[in-house]
């Protein structure tokens, strides 16, 4: 669904997909064997055949789709709202009542998808019939539309009146019960398609398929045909492994310690997991071992890794990688200057933090530096990234530095529910990151401040 479908004229393609699905449900409901049991319903003095109660509808939906009654009521309401089932007793109230209120299926002739879009001519004939049948039967909004239509399609008005008279004459020849049924169906149809207040509108969209588009498609298909694919059995195992590995880290699945702030109103979980803390939590440190990216994405993890690399005298790799990231994601205006800095600090012969890149990549990079752009460091950066990932990272995980960090990491106690369940904690505010940035100097002094507001450190 796009704004074009809501702001301009056209047809709701989204609505068509829904109609087809609703029709599937309706057809199933009318299945002679597995469908609904229908009965005759009394409407004033007339007996209407093939009707059902709201209660029956909900029971059938609950059973057929194995859903809750709440969901059946919700689904049933949609079927009524879109005109596939209409109420016999209060036709203008398009609501499914979970009681003995009678309902009927709309005839497919009048389904929104069959007769869509509803034409002005048909609507005019319908209103004319109502007007002729009983003067003053038209509602206010119908009277307005009737006179509008009279003006707009005045040239065919004779046809409209003639058709209306013909249809009325034909209906007089039907049995009363049939006549009432048809009138109900027709009324229901127009209540949906010309509601008093326009709530459903039908729009369309054009696909821009010119020759350029198809040429691109063909090219893309050719490339795709040549690509290497991995067997499903291998790929799909990956999903199982990932969700298992991260299960304990997923608060919605397993909860979080000491408690979920949104449920308990206690922000301890956020405080303990702030960007920089004196002692990190165990789950957090464990996560650094899941992948190199997890380690680097965590500010504390990255800091620890840097400490490790300095011990190994290979910290320049991480500094280099960070500097390259800074170019890739930084301002366009600073690219040239940053590339120069990188060259001076990391690539030039005798540089203070010279990085060990293979000669092919080095040559290519040095050539590229002559015309610096955002991605000029990509090859070198990737080379160093994979070097750290394959070599330093696995050794870091086996190191004492990491093992000690894991050993002294905190495992928070689960917060027990308050003794008085109705007592609600006060929800404290936290410093906005926008404020933290503009008042950086002052904030440093506040770092270990006590008091009702923010706890130690930022709430990032």
């Amino acid at each position: 669904m796009t704004i074009n479908t809501l702001a301009k004229g056209g047809c709701h393609r989204e609505q068509m997909a829904c109609f087809r699905k609703m029709e599937k449900v309706i057809v199933a409901m009318q299945d002679p064997d597995m469908g609904m049991k229908m009965r005759n319903q009394r409407l004033l003095i007339t007996v209407i055949p093939h009707a059902m109660t709201g209660h029956d509808i909900i029971a059938w939906l609950t059973h057929k789709y194995r859903i809750s009654e709440e969901e059946s009521l919700h689904l049933g309401n949609m079927l009524v709202k879109y005109g596939y089932i209409y109420p016999l007793k209060e036709p203008r109230c398009l609501v499914l009542r979970p009681d003995e209120s009678p309902y009927r299926f709309q005839t497919p002739y009048f389904w929104t998808s069959t007769r869509w879009p509803a034409s002005e001519l048909d609507y005019a004939i319908y209103l004319a019939k109502k007007n002729i049948r009983k003067q003053g039967e038209l509602m206010e909004y119908e009277k307005e539309r009737y006179s509008l239509l009279h003006k707009r399609i005045n040239h065919t008005w004779d046809f409209v009146v003639m058709q209306a008279r013909e249809q009325l004459r034909a209906s007089k020849q039907r049995r009363k019960a049939d006549r009432i049924v048809l009138e109900c169906q027709e009324q229901a149809y127009w209540l949906i398609n010309r509601p008093p207040v326009r709530s459903i509108t039908l729009y369309c969209i054009q696909l821009y398929c010119n020759s350029d588009y198809y040429k691109r498609e063909i090219e893309a298909c050719r490339k795709a045909l040549g690509r290497n694919r991995v067997k499903s059995s291998i790929c799909l195992e990956g999903f199982l492994k990932y969700s298992e590995q991260y299960l304990n880290h997923d608060p919605i699945m397993q909860g979080c310690l000491p408690s979920n702030p949104w449920i308990s109103d206690d922000t301890a979980h956020w405080t303990m997991n702030a960007e920089i803390v004196p002692v990190p939590t165990r789950l957090r440190v464990e996560r650094w071992s899941f992948s190199f990216m997890e380690l680097l994405n965590d500010a504390m993890g990255r800091r620890e890794f840097m400490t490790y690399l300095e011990k190994e005298f290979s910290a320049e790799n991480l500094y280099f990688w960070q500097a390259c990231e800074d170019i890739r994601h930084g301002e366009s205006s600073k690219i040239v200057e940053k590339v120069e800095d990188i060259y001076k600090n990391f690539l030039a012969p005798g540089a203070a933090r010279w990085v060990n890149i293979d000669s092919k990549t080095m040559d290519k990079t040095l050539e590229g530096i002559k015309r610096p752009h955002r991605f000029v460091m990509d090859d070198a950066q990737m080379h160093i990234y994979f070097l750290m990932k394959k070599d330093s990272y696995p050794r870091y995980l086996k190191s004492d530095l990491y093992k000690n960090m894991l050993a002294k990491a905190i495992v928070p106690q689960e917060t027990k529910k308050s003794v008085f369940p109705f007592m609600r904690r006060q929800r404290h505010s936290s410093p906005s990151p926008a404020q933290t940035a503009t008042q950086a100097a002052e904030e440093e002094g506040l770092a270990k401040g006590a008091g009702a507001n923010s706890a130690a450190g930022s709430h990032f």
Binding site: M1, N4, A7, E70, C209, I218, Y246, S429, S432, A434
Partner: protein, 364 residues
């Protein structure tokens, strides 16, 4: 090839020009190749996800409730995004208002009135110091967030992106300096925030692009987009090329979201289904649908571990799916009109929904 051409008169129809024949040829060739591609993709599909997942333990009783209701928008909420601090959010609505909230306390911290209605896209900057938004103005603008009560946020507004049709989605990349946008003009684009310069544009959709999501990959160079042409395209941000394309939905794709590992992405569509596409297998690997779910999905997101997929639907509900087993775990009621946007918080402790009922809800 000879063709007849006569001046158009009411009585005579203009003869077809050869261009239409070429177009028909191209269309046929394109469709033939697409069938071939689907055949190739099917060859390596030796098992279904739910089969592989048979050995996984089923999920127990699922209880999630509305924990916060954010009231303050005067019209339909169209979009929202989380701040990295895990508690603040930005939301935008049909009446042109963009609001920044501390969702935890439900306090409004900033409000901006855009010069246009239908603000369909909004995003929080990674630093937490700015928000980006846009919609029917065809632009994406960045507003630095100031806590000075006297300062008018609109005064410091920076116009970054310019499209030729409405802005449907926007996202900052890894920093505050670049923004990725998608538009009703059928393209996506990457912009430099500081200068407003267009860094790269992405052509390949045949109709409005409705959504995008950045890949959480090591090399961080790709993103996926979904559009009214029923296609989900994966793009290389450097070259502007479309590197993978999937076309299995039956209607508009309203939302795309990467699986946390970056190896797959989910999509939500007007055809009332969510689907999972694996990038290495290069195919759709799961469909999340139910006969009783009739209305389109407006927005999808994964829980932190990727085990759950949340979908906001046009029938006002949220359906929760077991990604591995393909079953529907739960249905959540609460909103009084269609759910238009849904995002899980950065630390996975909750998810937020925005709705046409003018409110936002936090669920946990």
């Amino acid at each position: 090839r000879k063709y007849m051409r006569s001046p158009p008169t009411p009585e005579m129809a203009t003869q077809e020009v050869p261009l239409n024949e070429t177009l028909a040829h191209l269309k046929t060739e394109s469709e033939t190749l697409k069938s071939k591609l689907e055949e190739e993709r099917a060859k390596l599909h030796d098992v279904e996800l739910h089969q592989v997942a048979e050995k996984v333990e089923g999920l127990g009783q699922f209880v999630m409730k509305t924990r916060r209701t954010l009231k303050g928008h005067g019209n339909k909420v169209l979009c929202m995004d989380w701040c990295k601090d895990k508690r603040r959010i930005v939301s935008s609505s049909q009446d042109g208002k963009v609001i920044v909230w501390d969702a935890f306390t439900t306090n409004k911290e900033h409000a901006v009135t855009m010069p246009c209605t239908w603000v369909m896209a909004c995003a929080y900057a990674p630093s937490g110091c700015a928000v980006a938004c846009g919609g029917l103005d065809n632009k994406c603008s960045v507003y630095p967030l100031s806590l000075d009560k006297n300062e008018n946020l609109a005064a410091k507004k920076k116009s970054v992106a310019m499209h030729t049709n409405y802005l449907s989605a926007c996202s900052f990349t890894n920093s505050d300096m670049q923004i990725l946008t998608s538009s009703g003009d059928g393209t996506c684009a990457l912009w430099d925030v500081e200068s407003g310069q267009l860094l790269q544009s992405f052509h390949g959709h045949a109709a409005d692009v409705l959504c995008l999501d950045l890949a959480p990959s090591e090399t961080g160079n790709t993103f996926v987009s979904g559009g009214c042409d029923k296609k989900a395209n994966v793009w290389d941000m450097r070259s502007g090329q479309c590197i993978q394309s999937f076309e299995t939905h039956e209607s508009d794709i309203n939302s795309v979201r990467y699986y946390p590992s970056g190896d797959a992405f989910a999509s939500g569509s007007d055809d009332a289904t969510c689907r999972l596409y694996d990038l290495r297998a290069d195919r759709e690997v799961a469909i999340y649908s139910k006969d009783s779910i009739i209305f389109g999905v407006s927005s999808v997101d994964f829980s932190l571990s990727g085990r759950l997929l949340f979908g906001g639907y046009n029938d006002y509900t949220i359906n929760v799916w077991d990604v591995l087993k393909g079953t529907r775990v739960s249905i959540l009621f609460g909103h009084e009109n269609r759910v238009s946007t849904l995002r899980v918080s950065p630390d996975g402790t909750a998810f937020c929904t925005g709705s046409w009922d003018h409110t936002l809800r936090i669920w946990a």
